[in-house]
Assembly symmetry: C2
Homo-oligomer: 405 residues x 2
């Protein structure tokens, strides 16, 4: 283990600031400059607890992009659950904070980088999807700082009031997840991501889900739902959708093909599109890596109710990138189906037999627990844990090498 | 090992007989009655060498049905090759004998049980496919005798002259294969079979093959080929085709589905239909026993030329029987494709890694070596070897149990 030499300076913490102009805040932040003997530089600002360990990894940053209301929060709960512990808002902070913190993982919502509040957007006639309503400079600088181990004061966009609230302190976690509309939009932010995921919900399914949520649960009319989707579409197509080309993994949610002509959005066909050649990420496969497979597990060993379950797997290209695609169409009836399916998947990065099934059972009440959305979200969670551990271990061995010099 | 008590009587061997009336021949045959201490009765006629071993199995009988010119002889050469050694006609016998003998296996052609020669059939207006042109009583009694370990004098149908030649001596082999038009037609013969196979060539492929052989190689006209197929069809449908319902394994040969509209018969889709619940026979499977799979092995690890290769596997019913079906569409380009495919098949009863590939390579010049016909014939050969060895070992252990009493 490397010993640490501490050379530091502390300046004053910034006081009350106009939170409408985040861009300038970080310029006033104060830092602890911290040099280790292994020539690795770590910085902490005044909020940080200073700790020193040569093996300590810098924060691993994961980006999760999706339209609002596309199951990101469920995904996040599944992801943090994989790491153990529960994710909660920062203690004693703003009750409307969008942040979730667990032992290893901090999830920040990129809506917090809105540069225009609800009124401001209305005045300027831009949606929240428009880059002009978002502060990418601040997003970049704060994500960069967190990645370098530096605590930041992140603004809060209050979804209840539509206003920008005073900032909250975010300490660098082991894993930082930035989730929202634009994690891969700005090339600088994109470059900070160790892994990126895009949740791609097809229009048919999005519509079915909105009807379910906004009409059945919130009493909106079908027309208003249609109008709201239509209104978002141009900006969505211009600014959100193109990000999927940069994602390391895309979870595509489509209507089933098991029932001809079905677009009810109840039975789903979910595709996990995994980029090849991503460091620390080995795509999941079914039976035979790199070949093209379809698999109907229902048969002599497994009985499924109509319309059954069909898996597909194979190589493909996606935005000129070589990818592997795993697809699940249909839904599970019972637990034994899930463990049966799990046992036939390879490279799922479980730590014990049945871990996927255990995770899915643990959150059986989450939306999508009986279909490919829940399954693939859980698997992506395991892959991220694996990626994190690989990065950690590669850093540890690099540090060990350096300490021997 | 059990000791043997020998009580025997020898009568005279039948002399010159009118071979037009085989039915009566066996009634004149002489026998050695041979009782072992394990209460198992063995009989040998005067031609047999008498040997005594309690472990010795009675002959295992395999039936192979197919229309003439459907690749039975290739299948037989593949099968005998699996057991090692080469199959040759009986030494010093009729040069037009249809029999092939190897160390373990004797293949007899059921055409030898024609009761009417070519002239006789013409006179009576029946084809060779008609049961009235065949002597099922004699077929039954001789197969039964061979199964019981008794040497027989089997007639010979001379394909060159179209006449019935004097009989040849057939000693009970370890494995007797009866191949021809009617191995499963007569219920008594059918009951003697330890395993049965039906080669089912679709009309399109049969036609393409006949054109290849009879037109290109023998100078027949397209019209005469069509006429000959049409002429055989009613009897084929009435007497040959229905046997496939009794087969333990059916090899179905169809035109490819990889090239839409193709019926050239050059690229084949071959299906191995395997009955479930057959003693000593565990159907081959792909990846996951009992589920439904399609597999295109061409991809990152394997490059295939157009139109590629597609495997399918799954449960099905065939004439009300539960079956598993393994299908191969397309053809192999190179050896590494074959070993790759072999390594993904289960229950193929090989004795070492790559045995299927080795067998296929050994007979690379045989028709069908690059497609499913050769592959499935080889696999069925291995399954028969496995079945034979299981029967042998179950007999040995039964004998051991009996000797302990």
């Amino acid at each position: 283990m490397a010993s640490c030499t501490t050379i530091y300076s502390i300046s004053t913490t910034p006081t009350k600031t106009n939170w409408g102009f985040h861009q300038s805040i970080h310029r006033h932040e104060s830092h602890v400059f911290f040099y280790s003997s292994t020539r690795r530089t770590k910085r902490f600002n005044g909020f940080s607890e200073i700790s020193c360990s040569a093996e300590e990894a810098k924060t691993v940053v994961i980006g999760l992009a999706a339209d609002s209301g596309c199951g990101k929060s469920t995904f996040m709960r599944r992801l943090t659950s994989v790491f153990g512990g529960t994710a909660e808002p920062p203690k004693g902070g703003n009750p409307d904070s969008n942040t979730l913190i667990s032992d290893t993982t901090t999830v920040i919502c990129l809506d917090d980088y809105h540069s225009l509040d609800r009124t401001g957007r209305k005045e300027k006639g831009v949606t929240a999807l428009d880059p002009r309503a978002n502060d990418f400079d601040l997003m970049y600088e704060q994500v960069k700082k967190l990645k370098e181990g530096i605590t930041v004061e992140k603004p809060i966009y209050n979804h209840v009031t539509g206003l920008l609230d005073p900032p909250e302190v975010i300490q660098p976690p082991k894993i930082l997840v930035i989730e929202g509309l634009h994690p891969m939009y700005d090339p600088r932010v994109r470059d900070l991501l160790d892994f990126s995921i895009y949740l791609d919900i097809s229009n048919d399914v999005k519509f079915a889900w909105k009807i379910q949520r906004d009409m059945a649960e919130r009493g909106h009319s079908l027309e208003s739902i249609k109008a709201s989707i239509e209104a978002r579409k141009p900006d969505f197509d211009a600014y959100i959708d193109p990000q999927k080309q940069y994602a390391d993994a895309v979870i595509e949610v489509l209507p089933t093909q098991l029932i001809p002509g079905d677009n009810e959005g109840k039975i789903l066909r979910v595709r996990l599109i995994m980029k090849e050649g991503v460091k620390y990420f080995n795509p999941v496969y079914l039976f035979d890596e790199g070949s093209t497979i379809s698999w109907i597990p229902c048969g002599r060993k497994l009985s499924c109710s109509y319309p059954g379950i069909k898996f597909s797997y194979g190589p493909d290209t996606y935005f000129s990138n070589e990818v592997s695609v795993l697809e699940m169409d249909g839904q599970f009836d019972r637990l034994d189906e899930l463990i049966y399916v799990e046992s036939h998947l390879s490279n799922i990065s479980t730590k014990f037999y049945g871990e996927v099934t255990q995770q899915m059972l643990k959150h059986a009440e989450f939306p999508g627990s009986n279909n490919g959305t829940g399954l693939f979200q859980t698997i992506v969670g395991l892959k991220i844990r694996d990626l994190y551990e690989q990065i950690l271990s590669s850093k540890a061995s690099a540090t060990l090498q350096a300490s021997k010099v």
